[in-house]
Symmetry: C2
Subunit: 421 residues, 2 copies
C-alpha cells in the first residue's frame, strides 16, 4: 500500500457508446463535485469500451496509479455488460451467487407485473468479500471492494441509478477518507466583461487567497465559483467563502445579480412577484427567446402578461402602435422604434413594465451603418423609457442570448434601484 500522501483518485467510465462521437461521460462531473466536497481531488478520468481486453487493461492501470477508483457502467444484464466479470478476473476473485439479490431483482419485475428475463440472473452475482450497494432505482447492485492497495467502487451507469446510490450508500462510507471540509459559493453577474471584473477585483485578490476561484464566462454572463476549504469545520470553510463573497459583491456591486445560483429570469421574476408588478415583452430579432426565458420560471404566469413577436413591420405598427413614419425614417432597428415598442407593449398589455428588443441577429441583413449584432433594447415604465444601444459579437444564437440577457438586466437594475429608494 502506498503512503497516504501518494494516494490518487480516478474515475473509470465504462461503455463503448462513450467512445463514439455521440455520447459523453457526464457521471464524472457529478462524482467529481461530490468527491471535491470531501476534499478529495480527482487525478485521472478514463473512458473505456466494453471489450474484455481493453477494460481489463484500463482497470489494471487505474489500480496501479490510483488508490481510490470509482468505476461506472457495464453492470447491466446484457452480454455487452461485463464490468463485474472483468473486475473479478483482474482482482483474481470469485463471483458468488446471492439468492437474496436475485429475489430482490425478481420482486422489482413482479411489481411491474413482468417476469424477470433470464439474462438478469447474472446481476445477482457479486465479487467475493465485497459489500453490496443497494440500487433503489434499477436491477444492477453496486459493489464496494477494499483490497490491500485499492478502494474500488462499482456503480451503475444510468445517472438516475448512480446518483441516489452514491448519495445513500457511498457518500457515508467515504467520510472516513474525508480530507477537509468544503463549502461552495457562486456569484453570477450580468452586464460586466471579464476584463472589467479583472480590474475591479485586482485589489481584493490578495485578500481572498484562502478561497479557490473559478471563472465561467460566456458573452453576457460571467459566473465566479468559490470554494472554501477547512481542516477544522464546515463553518470555517463557509466563513471563508462568505468573506470573499462579500468583498467581491462590494466591488462588483450591481453587476452581481445573485449569490444563490438562480438564473437572471428568476431574479427578475422574484422582484416582480414581491412588488406585485407585471411585465409584457415586444420582441423582434429574438423572436420569442426573451418570452421563452421568462416563462421557463415556474409561476411566471403571476407577473408575465403577454408578448408580441413583431418580426415584420406591420406587426410593429398594428400590435404595438409603432409609428410607420419612424420605421421609414429611422429603420426598424433604431432607438426610436425600440422605444415605441417598449412603450406600446406596456400600454396595450396594461403591464407595469414593457421590454423590447429590435436588432440584427445575422448572419445576413447587416449593413455598414447597421452591422450584424446591432441591437436596441428598451425598458418602459410608467414614467419613462430607457434605451440601450448594443453591439454584440457572435453567431445568431449568441446575439439572441445577449439581447435577451441585456433586456432582462435592464429591468433587474431598474427594479433594484426602485427597491433601494
Amino acid at each position: 500500500m502506498k503512503p497516504a500522501k501518494d494516494r490518487k483518485t480516478e474515475i473509470l467510465a465504462v461503455g463503448s457508446e462513450m467512445l463514439t462521437p455521440h455520447f459523453q461521460d457526464t457521471n464524472s462531473l457529478f462524482l467529481t463535485e461530490r468527491l471535491n466536497d470531501l476534499g478529495i481531488d480527482v487525478h485521472f478520468k478514463t473512458i473505456v469500451g466494453d471489450t474484455w481486453e481493453n477494460l481489463s487493461l484500463a482497470m489494471q492501470q487505474a489500480f496501479d496509479r490510483s488508490s481510490l477508483v470509482i468505476v461506472t457502467g457495464g453492470l447491466g444484464p446484457t452480454k455487452d455488460d461485463r464490468t463485474r466479470e472483468v473486475l473479478a478476473s483482474v482482482l483474481g476473485k470469485k463471483l458468488i451467487f446471492k439468492e437474496a439479490l436475485l429475489q430482490k431483482i425478481e420482486k422489482r419485475f413482479a411489481r411491474r407485473r413482468m417476469n424477470m428475463p433470464a439474462v438478469n440472473k447474472k446481476q445477482a452475482y457479486i465479487i467475493e468479500s465485497s459489500t453490496v450497494l443497494e440500487n433503489k432505482n434499477g436491477t444492477a447492485p453496486g459493489l464496494w471492494i477494499d483490497t490491500v492497495s485499492n478502494t474500488i467502487i462499482l456503480l451503475p451507469g444510468p445517472p438516475h441509478e448512480m446518483r441516489p446510490m452514491f448519495e445513500s450508500d457511498v457518500w457515508p462510507r467515504l467520510q472516513t477518507l474525508k480530507k477537509h471540509h468544503i463549502f461552495r459559493g457562486v456569484i453570477k453577474t450580468a452586464g460586466l466583461t471579464e476584463s472589467r471584473i479583472e480590474s475591479y477585483m485586482e485589489d481584493i485578490y490578495p485578500k481572498i487567497q484562502d478561497v479557490q476561484l473559478t471563472t465561467l464566462a460566456c458573452p453576457g454572463q460571467i459566473e465566479l465559483h468559490l470554494k472554501g476549504t477547512s481542516k477544522e469545520s464546515l463553518s470555517t470553510a463557509k466563513q471563508k467563502v462568505d468573506h470573499a463573497t462579500k468583498l467581491i459583491c462590494d466591488v462588483l456591486d450591481e453587476g452581481v445579480y445573485t449569490t444563490k445560483g438562480e438564473e437572471l429570469e428568476e431574479v427578475v421574476g422574484k422582484y416582480l412577484k414581491k412588488k406585485h408588478q407585471t411585465l409584457a415583452v415586444a420582441e423582434s430579432c429574438t423572436g420569442g427567446y426573451l418570452g421563452h426565458r421568462i416563462t421557463n420560471v415556474p409561476g411566471s404566469s403571476n407577473y408575465f402578461l403577454h408578448g408580441v413577436l413583431a418580426y415584420n413591420n406591420k406587426a410593429k405598427t398594428d400590435l404595438l402602435g409603432v409609428s410607420p413614419n419612424n420605421i421609414e425614417k429611422f429603420g426598424a432597428v433604431s432607438p426610436q422604434v425600440a422605444k415605441e415598442m417598449a412603450a406600446g407593449i406596456r400600454e396595450r398589455a396594461g403591464a407595469d413594465y414593457g421590454l423590447s428588443i429590435t436588432g440584427i441577429a445575422g448572419p445576413s441583413g447587416g449593413t455598414k451603418d447597421k452591422p450584424v449584432g446591432l441591437v436596441y433594447t428598451a425598458l418602459a415604465s410608467e414614467k419613462e423609457v430607457f434605451i440601450k444601444k448594443n453591439l454584440f459579437l457572435g453567431n445568431r444564437n449568441a446575439v439572441k442570448f445577449q439581447s435577451s440577457q441585456k433586456a432582462l438586466d435592464m429591468l433587474r437594475r431598474y427594479l433594484l434601484h426602485m427597491s433601494k429608494t
Copy 2:
C-alpha cells in the same frame, strides 16, 4: 512495435480544469468522429491534469497500450502548460529552439499591435525529430512525432485552434493509416416513439446488417445515425448507407422529416419559402419557445410574420379573438381555445398558416382532469383547423420542447401532403 492488428488508438486530454465539476473534454468527440471517418476506432480516452507526475504517468501508460495517441491541451504559454516539456522528458528527447517559429509568433502579436510577452517564447521550442503542425488561429504550434512504437500527435486545446489544425495538417497525414472508407447518414424523425420505430423496422433489420445503426432519442425527436464501411471505396460505403436509408424511410414514411441533418424548423421553413407562404404563431404555455425555434433559422423573416405570447386570458381574447365564453366554459387549456387561437392569429396576421399551443407545462397548475403535460396544439389553414390533444411527460422544459415540436410537425405534415396533391 506491436503487430498491426493489435494497434490501438487513444485520446489524451490535458488540463486540470477538466478534472473539476465545471468543464468537460469536448475535443474528443470531434476527434473521434474524424478518426472514425478513416475507419480508426478510439479505444481509450484519458483526462489528466497539468501536474508533471500525473501527466508523465498518463503518457507512459497511453504509449504503452496504444500505438496512435492524440494529445490535446497544455501547449499554452503559462507555467501550467507543460505538455510539450513532459512529452520530451517521457520520450527522452530534447527540446529545440526554432527561430522561424518565434518569428511567426512575434508577427502574430505584431498584427494585433502588441509586443509578444516573454512567456510565449517557450512555444517556439519543439521536440527533436518532430514535425511542426502550423497553428493558423493561435500561437501554439502542434507536433507530429513518430517513434519506434507510437505515432503521437500534439494539438492545442482551444477547439477553434485544434479543429482547423487537424483538418489541414493532421487529416492528410492520417490517410496512410486509413483502414477503410466510411460514409455517414442521419435520418431524423418526429411524431414517432422508439417502440413504434422498433416495430416498423423489425422486418428490415436483417436487410441492413451492413450498416451500423445508432439511435439518439429524446422525447419528441428520434434520430437514426447510419455508418457504412467499405474497404474498396467511398462510393461503396455510400451505397450501403443510401440503400439502408431508402429502406428505413420507406417504412417510417412521413415520420422522417429529413435525411440531410436539418432541424425540424429548417424543414418547415424550406417548405414555406418554396411555396411563398407565411406563418404566424400564438403561444401560451411555451411562452415564446416556438417563435424562438422558428426564428433560429436565418432568413425566417421571409415567412414568419409575427407571434403572440398570450400567457393570460385577456391576451387570448384581445389579441387573438378567442371567445371569453369558451375560456369560461372549457378552460384556457381546451381544444376549443386552441382552435380559436390558431384561427385568430392566422387571420389577424394575414398569414397562410396559424399555429397555436395551449397547455400546462408544470410543475404546478395540473388537476385530475387536466394534468401537467396536457397540451393542445392546433394548425389553422385557409380551409380548416386541425387540433391535437397531447399528453407529454417530463419537466417544464421537456413539455415546452415537445409542444413546439408537435406544432411544427403538424405544419410539416400538412405542407408535405399539400405538395403531394
